[in-house]
């Protein structure tokens, strides 16, 4: 189990603020570092448990226990133990770093940031800590602060691939797609073979206005090529076409998250006599209602946050998974490296960091639909296209969504356009397009709402961008983050949603529609540029889908000019959506079941 060394090495070998001295701590960390099996980890833990039971209180022993508990996947106990150590030892860097490291693999992002900020003040010269802090800030959508830290580190320490890649991701989130692409390319130029820099390019490219399907596929393929492969193992799955199948779900987001809301109903709708679900998951919380639904629908629930990709490949063998569905892609908790080593004879990519094709030769299929990937799009994907008869997702609206209210234009006397997508999707061309619409409807307003706009400097920059396009501040309202219900309630102020492009809204579009707000979209070439197209077509609103910027502008103008029609549509939209295939879980479940069976049959018949 080589992963053990990797797991601890980063902490054992670094730490500018604290070198290890001979003694209890060095001894304990050395024992941990030389442990190569889970049984060995348990043995060391048992030894430390005995030491803890003594009357003396030794923070080093508790630190060791915390590390070992984390290695065993006992995350809650690890956090409790490490937090206690940090309280006792106050400003000691090593416990704080371990604590932050474990926390960063949970959803306790604010606490992670707080701890990393504290470590940063204690170990000013440590670039890795600054980088980790920036990542935590990014997870909190505080991209301006992250950008500032990363720029500072670069100016002090010179170019570093990890820092450049994070900077690229931060810049794109701030809506600077050009800067992000340039930074990702700089990282790639400095380290062309590194997975990190190739992944950064894959992450930022789909947001750029010049992206094409082939360019994105090429970037994804290059990223997939950089993944480490081990010699392939023999897959002994029984090639019986009709037998019950074991479906593996690989994801760090089986919870209240876009992936959860878009997929949970589908898995619930699968016939348990025909499909056993095995969830390979990370960062789950039993308090989360979507997680609970997944857990109830699944036969096995396996936490994999603490194990390496290599260990994951070994682990999965025990469960004889027939079809592996990846819902993580190249995201934070993504396990594409494990997929590259085949976790199952049939591997399917579905939602979750799915801007386009995975580019991974070992990913056999991509679950899609005829609107996402119409006939003729096959060459833009490395996978075979597993097309669903309706849409490619099944939306579960949140039960706390507010009721739909009447069209605000009736009360206001003017039309309000809106967009609640994140700034990464709002390119200069998108802003120019919206400005043209607003210039053509002089009374209209625009409301944008997203996390990044909580930052006043970011909001100010956007106000100025729009002003330079002839849209004064008085006609624009920029809103920052809020709770999810409050976000959905904000649609009460919107008459028509303007979808961004080339990266369209996914969950955001579903939420707008659920709140009675129709969406004008521009269909593009990559997968991410056609989410809204799929959702709108799936509920019978294909006339809101456009093929060019000029058509997008004309449609927005035409649709927003008919207030009566908008009002009627708004009042009926939720019910229409509820009755459409987009929210029809049983219908989706049948189609999903058939699609999975089709993929399985193809493998059984040796057609892959």
């Amino acid at each position: 189990m080589s992963g053990m060394g990797q797991f601890t090495g980063r902490f054992l070998g670094t730490g500018n603020g604290q070198s290890l001295q001979p003694g209890a701590l060095a001894n304990i960390l050395s024992r941990i570092g030389s442990t190569s099996t889970m049984a060995g980890v348990s043995d060391v833990l048992a030894e430390l448990d005995i030491e803890v039971a003594g009357n003396d209180i030794k923070p080093a022993v508790h630190l060791g226990r915390g590390i070992l508990l984390a290695m065993l996947g006992r995350q809650a106990e690890a956090i409790d133990t490490l937090e206690a150590v940090t309280i006792l030892t106050q400003d000691a860097v090593l416990p704080l770093r371990w604590f932050a490291g474990i926390l960063s693999r949970t959803s306790r992002v604010a606490q992670t940031e707080e701890v990393l900020r504290r470590v940063g003040t204690l170990d000013l010269e440590n670039m890795q800590i600054r980088n980790d802090h920036a990542v935590a800030l990014m997870r909190l959508h505080r991209h301006s602060e992250a950008q500032s830290i990363l720029h500072t580190v670069l100016s002090h320490n010179g170019p570093d691939i990890s820092i450049l890649c994070n900077l690229a991701n931060t810049l794109v989130c701030l809506g600077d797609q050009d800067g992000a692409l340039a930074t990702a390319r700089e990282a790639l130029g400095r380290s062309p073979l590194a997975l990190l820099s190739r992944r950064a390019l894959c992450n930022v490219l789909p947001y750029h206005q010049d992206v094409t399907g082939q360019a994105q596929l090429r970037a994804m393929r290059e990223c997939a090529d950089a993944l480490t492969r081990v010699p392939p193992r023999t897959l002994a799955n029984d090639r019986d076409i009709n037998r019950p199948l074991v479906i593996g779900l690989l994801s760090g987001t089986l919870r209240s998250h876009p992936v959860g809301w878009m997929t949970v109903a589908a898995f619930e709708a699968l016939d348990p006599n025909l499909f056993d679900l095995v969830c390979l998951t990370q960062n789950s919380s039993l308090d989360d209602p979507i997680t609970r639904r997944y857990r109830f629908a699944s036969k096995k629930w396996i936490e994999i946050a603490h194990i390496s990709d290599t260990q994951l490949v070994e682990l999965v063998q025990e469960h004889s998974i027939d079809i592996l569905i990846d819902l993580g892609g190249y995201g934070d908790a993504g396990r594409m490296a494990a997929c590259a080593n085949r976790l199952a004879p049939v591997q399917v990519k579905w939602v979750g960091m799915q801007s386009h094709s995975s580019g991974l030769p070992e990913m056999d299929w991509l679950l899609t639909d005829r609107w996402e990937t119409p006939d003729g799009f096959e060459d833009l994907y490395s996978e075979k296209l597993l097309r669903m008869p309706d849409g490619y997702v099944c939306y579960s609206p949140p039960p706390y969504a507010p009721d739909v209210v009447s069209l605000p234009a009736i009360k206001n006397g003017f039309v309000t356009f809106g967009c609640f997508n994140n700034l990464a999707k709002i390119t200069p061309v998108v802003l120019e397009t919206w400005a043209e619409i607003l210039r053509d409807v002089p009374t209209a307003r625009l409301i944008l709402k997203t996390h990044q706009l909580s930052d006043s400097a970011t909001a100010e920059r956007l106000y100025r961008s729009l002003a330079s396009l002839g849209i004064p501040r008085s006609r624009v309202e920029l809103r920052g983050s809020s709770g999810h219900r409050a976000l959905m309630d904000s649609y009460r102020d919107i008459d028509v949603l303007l979808d961004p492009f080339p990266y369209s809204g996914g969950l955001t579009t579903c939420e707008a529609l659920w709140m009675g707000v129709p969406v004008v979209t521009l269909a593009g070439e990559i997968f991410a540029s056609r989410h809204s197209t799929s959702h709108l077509c799936n509920i019978g609103l294909a006339d809101w889908v456009c093929d060019s910027v000029s058509e997008y502008i004309a449609t927005a103008l035409a649709k927003s000019s008919d207030i009566d029609d908008l009002a009627a549509m708004r009042s009926a939209l939720r019910e229409r959506m509820q009755r459409s295939p987009l929210c029809d879980a049983p219908r989706f479940g049948k189609a999903f079941s058939a699609a999975l069976r089709r993929a399985w049959q193809a493998w059984c018949l040796g057609g892959q």
């Binding site: 290890l20 001295q21 003694g23 209890a24 701590l25 060095a26 803890v52 009357n55 003396d56 209180i57 030794k58 923070p59 080093a60 508790h62 630190l63 106990e77 956090i79 409790d80 133990t81 937090e83 206690a84 150590v85 309280i87 006792l88 030892t89 106050q90 400003d91 000691a92 090593l94 416990p95 619930e268 209602p289 609970r292 639904r293 857990r295 109830f296 629908a297 579960s396 949140p398 039960p399 706390y400 507010p402 009721d403 219900r485």
Partner: protein, 490 residues
Amino acid sequence: MDDIPISATLDTIRDRIAELINEGRGDAALPLLAAARVLGMRPSEIRFLRGRLHIQAGRLREATTDIDAAMSSAPLDTALLKCRSALRRRTGDREGAVKDAAEAVIADPRDPEAKLFLGQALVEFGRGAEGLSCLANALQIAPKDSRYWEALAAALDTEGDPDAALSVLEDGIRIFPGHLSVRNRAVLLCIQRGNFAAAAQIAEQARAAGIVDASTLGMAGHVLVSLGEFERAAASFREALKLCPEDRNLSRLVATTENRTDTSNTPAIFLRAIFDGYAEQFEVHVLSLRYSVPVSIRKLLLAHPKIAAAESIGPALDLGCGTGLIALAVEDLGIGPFTGIDLAPKMLAQAKAKGLYTELIENDIISELSVSTRRWPLILAADVICYFGALDEILSQTLRSLADGGWFVFSAERPAFDLRVEGVEDRAWVRIRHGRYAHTEHYIFESLSAAGFQILHMEQLPIRQEAGINVPGLLFAAQRVDRDVRPRVQ
């Protein structure tokens, strides 16, 4: 020598221990407590904190030892007095709870929590008027803490003034619009009063306010069934099921309400909401209602051949054990060890505190019995059957769980003669108030026979009092017997 010394001060550690205990993270506090001892924290303080950790973990006996020891060196410490008062309430020492809380109030008359504790203890001790006055006074001092509103409402309800209780809760909802438990209490109170329309309205207001909770939705579904609004009830149950997907009763309710039939039993989350909300006061409440079932079951069990022969009988399974009243009533008859099943963790905590159960299982009865392979010589069910409508499943599962010759002793509620429910005479069972069901004697008799039981004993009896009026009930003993063995009819 350790590489990383302890650099935190005792004050810092003390504060963090308290914070961690308040957050319910006792495991994180333990190493700190050990460190505090090394750093010289006073033994009484350590015992106080350790006592709190024991309370949190449900180890009430150990908690009592520690808190008593801590108090021996600081008898007038308000925090200790409050802590012990709460502990004593949990262990059933009501007089002691009143005494400690009263001393806490004397020590710090402006401490609203001391008055809260005193008020609650007084109500439970039977001095309702004083308790209410105390709780009202506490609320005046701390109107921005929802606990005080809930406590006053609960006390008013206990003292027989549900109108005033509801009024307090309605004020509480206005002041704490996002507070779930205040709304749930209000819904529950309306259900208990049989005012389903008001309950539905409060539940709907909660939904519109964005409050999404399985208990609220489950109660709403139940209420809507009562109002005959099956489609809305099904929708409500479906949403509850999304939040509580493992609840089998709920999934059955979704199916039954979708088919527009009557419901067959009460959803587990509904019971959990009722009993968890009541756990601390439940025992007092049922005793104050002259709850006679435990005593009646005891009398009936005296006729058991083994007990009559002074032999021990067991193990015994207590279905819906609640706070453990049955075990308390019969354990000296040589019955045991006891295993209890209940849905409500707070009730189970009280049962555990009685020290009479070797095993307590948090689950719904059907779910537990359907997967268990154990066979019991004695199964008891006091005030449990009334949470099931149709009895086929509970009886067949119970029969399956009985050893050959095993006894099933249970109480049931009969429809009151003046119950104005349409068609009640023609029905085997009827839904009444508080999410309960009343069953006809004939129906239970037939159901037991159909399930394969031999009926040993049946009697009519008042099972408790409500508003001073006897609630009619039934007591049964039934036996699982081999076909070729004649039952011992009493």
